[in-house]
């Protein structure tokens, strides 16, 4: 029977487009991989789609293929549309090149009933001469594809779509549903190939160079002359409505949208990993005795019962997919890219400025350790571990490189961009711990699912390797899937050591490690020792602070020593090269480099 069904399906697609009924031509198709045939969505699959992209465009207008018309459906007011531009060759002003544009939309659409902000984005490629609008246009202005995602707030997932010519026998432009974020984190390398999840590793929106100074993006920090009016080098495409009249925006604006989108996504993922009540599907809460209770949190942060009375006992919840959540603490599931704000002056693609940096280069703090999470605060708003010295690591260690030293480091490492000796546009560019990972851990902290001391215990293992740590990864096998935790009250001190010692995650993890009787000096043995700390004065948070201080002092001392400085700088720079290579060679994360090792990072 299934054999017959398949034949029927293929027959349908093999019929020339002109003979297919109009109804089929308006169908939104689905496609698993870039090379897979596009097939019809089932009624059930169609009914499961409710993100803004689907509701506004694809549900009733899947035959719309002109960007103008699509944008009119999404946000009729042109003043509420924004464009952002990115490319690994963005510094090159010559005409005839392509750039990727990310398009997003603000404000409301009556057809949607909710704001568009942070809920829908498109991505297209344009070039110096024209911005594509229609697949029927010729030459530089031809629309070749549109990639899109929409946030389904009801189901707590991102849906991905693509308009292109793949998957249909007659190569006509069709919209395809390309998958959702559900289960994305669990996909194997093979499963990801040719799918949107090849780059959207966890299923979340992606902006690799998420934080200032946004290397590879057009931004207020590094505006591009060819994308500004009134210059001799201005590209003709700048006259297009999608890049003019204030629509072209700095990457700084996109950063805010992506931070918010990822935070929203992580929150829903965390909620979905909690035990639910059978009766209504809400998160199950119990009191200390294990009896079910039902509480809400009021504006003062107090727990209140249904009758309005304040509940002053402890509220418990249960994690049932702990490993899914805690992967982000033990593993590098994604990375972002950071650099110093100093222009390297050695970018082979830039307009001539190849003299090296004009002033000292400061090594980013997150190169040394996971400073964003351990430090907390900052623009990402992490609670973190409140270690201010970690956050300011580079300033504390005086980790600056003089211009001539910097040039020597690059020459010694023989790093290249696009096969030419040189650097990225901004100096000391490296992968750093991702916002997807850090924000997940931070939300787990805020929710009481993990304690600061538990996080500190993990951070202490291989502290000086913020990414791709085999030692931390090896500890992941001890993490339980199921454990209870106390929901923090608003005025609870998250850093109370007693919370750590009483926490079921700590107990279960320690028990799992003990069962293997690890050697005390092994990562498991050291982790166990931290988990079993009984003295608040020697808590893992305190020990992490001491380790950070010692690390800062050691780096500072070596850099200050005339005998050791050059060797230390070279060691650090070589370490930067190593982590870049790890990123571009990683079996899964290599997909984040769309240039095959040529342009994303300076490597030998």
């Amino acid at each position: 029977m299934s054999h017959v069904r398949i034949i029927v399906t293929f027959s349908l697609l093999c019929i020339p487009a002109s003979q297919v009924s109009a109804q089929h031509q308006t169908l939104l198709l689905k496609q698993t991989r870039n090379t897979s045939p596009a097939t019809n969505l089932t009624a059930a699959e169609f009914a499961e789609l409710s993100d803004p992209m689907f509701v506004l465009v694809l549900k009733d207008h899947a035959d719309v293929k002109k960007l103008d018309a699509i944008e009119d459906l999404i946000q009729p007011d042109p003043a509420k549309r924004r464009s952002f531009v990115v490319s690994e060759t963005i510094r090159a002003p010559q005409r005839g090149q392509g750039r990727r544009a990310v398009l997003d939309y603000r404000g409301s659409n009556p057809a949607l009933g909710a704001p568009l902000d942070n809920n829908l984005m498109l991505s297209v490629v344009f070039n110096s001469e024209a911005f594509p609008n229609s697949p029927d246009d010729g030459g530089a202005g031809q629309l070749r594809f549109i990639e899109a995602w929409g946030w389904d707030n009801h189901r707590g997932r991102y849906n991905y779509y693509k308009l292109d010519r793949s998957g249909t026998p007659d190569s006509r432009m069709t919209w395809k549903f390309r998958g959702s974020s559900v289960g994305a984190e669990n996909l194997s390398r093979f499963d990801r190939r040719g799918t949107c999840m090849e780059c959207h590793i966890n299923g979340a929106p992606l902006m690799k160079e998420l934080l200032f100074p946004w290397n590879n993006w057009d931004s207020s920090v590094s505006p591009l002359s060819y994308l500004q009016t009134g210059n001799a080098a201005t590209w003709p495409v700048l006259a297009d409505k999608r890049l003019s009249n204030g629509r072209l925006r700095s990457a700084a604006d996109l950063e805010g949208s992506i931070l918010a989108a990822i935070r929203q996504f992580n929150r829903r993922r965390i909620n979905s990993a909690l035990k639910r009540r059978d009766v209504d599907g809400n998160v199950e809460e119990t009191d200390a005795g294990g009896d079910p209770i039902s509480v809400l949190r009021n504006a003062q942060g107090e727990f209140v019962l249904a009758n309005g009375a304040v509940f002053d006992g402890r509220v418990f919840r249960t994690v049932v997919e702990g490993r899914r959540l805690l992967r982000h603490l033990f593993q590098t599931t994604e990375y972002n890219i950071i650099s110093d704000r100093r222009v390297s002056g050695l970018h082979p693609i830039a307009a001539p400025l190849n003299q090296g940096p004009s002033a000292n280069v400061t090594i980013p703090s997150s190169f040394f350790l996971n400073s964003n999470l351990i430090g907390g605060g900052g623009l990402t708003e992490y609670t973190g571990l409140r270690n201010a010295r970690a956050r300011q690591f580079s300033a504390q260690a005086n980790a600056v490189v003089k211009p001539d030293e910097y040039k020597t480091l690059l020459a010694n490492a023989d790093v290249r961009i696009n096969n030419r000796p040189g650097d990225a546009h901004f100096a000391w560019i490296v992968p750093e711990a991702s916002h997807v990972d850090n924000d997940t851990v931070d939300q787990l902290l805020k929710e009481g699912i993990v304690t600061p001391d538990f996080v500190a215990s993990v951070m202490l293992i291989d502290l000086e390797t913020p990414l791709f740590s085999d030692e931390r990864q090896s500890l992941f096998r001890f993490v339980p899937d199921t454990f209870r935790f106390v929901v923090p009250a608003d005025d609870d001190d998250l850093f109370d050591f007693r919370k750590f010692t009483a926490h079921e995650l700590r107990a279960k993890t320690a028990e799992a490690i003990e069962a293997t009787t690890p050697d005390a000096s092994s990562p498991a043995g050291r982790f166990l020792s931290l988990l079993k700390t009984a003295d608040a004065n020697r808590s893992p948070v305190v020990q992490l602070k001491e380790a950070t201080d010692a690390y800062i002092d050691r780096v500072k001392q070596r850099l200050a020593s005339s005998a050791d400085r050059q060797a230390e700088l070279q060691r650090l720079y070589n370490k930067a090269v190593d982590v870049r290579l790890q990123a571009i060679r990683h079996p899964v994360l290599r997909a984040l480099d769309e240039t095959n090792g040529r342009l994303l990072f300076p490597v030998p």
Partner: protein, 348 residues
């Protein structure tokens, strides 16, 4: 003298007779900073907005103070004159632990000084325009041993400034109507001054060939705070314009405006468009020509799904900016550009 307009859009400077005072203050800023050697910064009337090459660029930045070393967002809230240095300051109104309201201001003190120069009554009108129902006493505004009725206009203006902002000789803001104790009127941090803004733009508009535009902040001495969100962005924009070369000036009415709130905002769990006054149910009100923004949290407003716990938390979502008008220089003559062959790391 150019007819500089009331930055608040209220018309109060006109109706109280303070507009001339205000204009004189601004004239002195534009005049002196357009005379910085080699700068392409011009007096406002020297940049023609009608030319084909003219454009107005809004230079935005995030209000969150990047230079802060505080461990706690609430610490930044409490220590406004220490940490809030991005040309935006805020005050948090609480009932117990609950935040009711967060008021953001980008106004400069010069506005109130112009009113103070006219009379105490004019100043009171201005304060009540910003804080309805305010009833400041003479002591609160001018300190003890000061009779505003007998004082000269300059003395009134000077005294008001001394008590409303942090000065060289003080580290507190005695005026409770600006310190947060009874309200917030204008910027008080020592780095958040109109003069600092002019200085920043003017000095960064001296073309410095040989260094990347984004490095200019490090090369203009104390005019640019490299660790801030605001200064490097404004400086880079000014330097890029200067290199084209373009004449540039600060758009009238000069000042920093509130542009938008980023993020996902919800009221009782339903996402709203926070920046649309017709859709945000009064949760976010921007007034005084974008110089004042009030976030009302009493209606169940949350950021994402979390209750707002501090003004600093909101500052991470708040985008403010300054408008710069520029137009291409028509000839090399009179440009006064100092071409620097190589810039050393100390900026010389």
């Amino acid at each position: 003298m150019f007819d500089y307009t009331d930055p608040t859009g209220s018309g109060l400077l006109d109706s109280t007779g303070a507009i001339t005072n205000y204009r004189q203050q601004l004239e002195s800023f534009y005049d002196s900073f357009s005379q910085i050697q080699n700068t392409t910064f011009q007096k406002i009337e020297s940049v023609n907005p009608s030319l084909p090459s003219s454009r107005v660029d809004t230079i935005p930045w995030i209000a969150f103070p990047r230079t802060n070393l505080a461990n706690d967002d609430r610490q930044i809230d409490r220590q406004r004159i220490r940490w809030q240095d991005e040309y935006v300051e805020w005050d948090v109104d609480r009932t117990g632990r609950r935040i009711d309201r967060i008021t953001f201001t980008t106004e400069f003190v010069e506005y109130y000084q112009a009113l103070a120069k006219v009379s105490r009554a004019a100043l009171l009108d201005g304060i009540r325009d910003a804080i309805p129902g305010a009833n400041p006493t003479n002591v609160e505004l001018f300190g003890s041993n000061f009779n505003p009725a007998n004082a000269t206009p300059d003395a009134r203006a000077r005294r008001f400034r001394e008590r409303a902002t942090v000065t060289q000789s003080s580290t507190t803001v005695p005026n409770p109507w600006n310190s947060g104790r009874k309200g917030i009127l204008c910027l008080s941090h020592r780095n958040n001054t109109l003069g600092a803004l002019f200085n920043l733009v003017s000095r960064c508009a001296v073309p410095r060939i040989g260094a990347a535009p984004s490095d200019t902040c490090d090369l203009v001495g104390g005019a640019c705070g490299a660790g801030r969100n605001s200064d490097p962005i404004v400086c880079t924009a000014a330097q890029n314009a200067a290199r084209e070369p373009r004449d540039l000036t600060l758009v009238d009415p000069v000042g920093v405006k509130i542009i938008e709130l980023r993020g996902i905002w919800k009221i009782n769990g339903t996402q709203i468009d926070i920046n649309d006054p017709s859709a945000n149910q009064g949760a976010w009100t921007v007034s005084r020509n974008g110089r004042r923004g009030v976030l009302d949290l009493t209606s169940g407003l949350t950021l994402g799904d979390s209750h707002v716990r501090s003004g600093t938390e909101v500052s991470r979502q708040l985008v403010v900016g300054v408008d710069v008008l520029s137009s291409k220089k028509t000839s090399a003559a009179g440009m006064g550009i100092g071409l620097i062959d190589r810039v050393s790391s100390d900026g010389t």
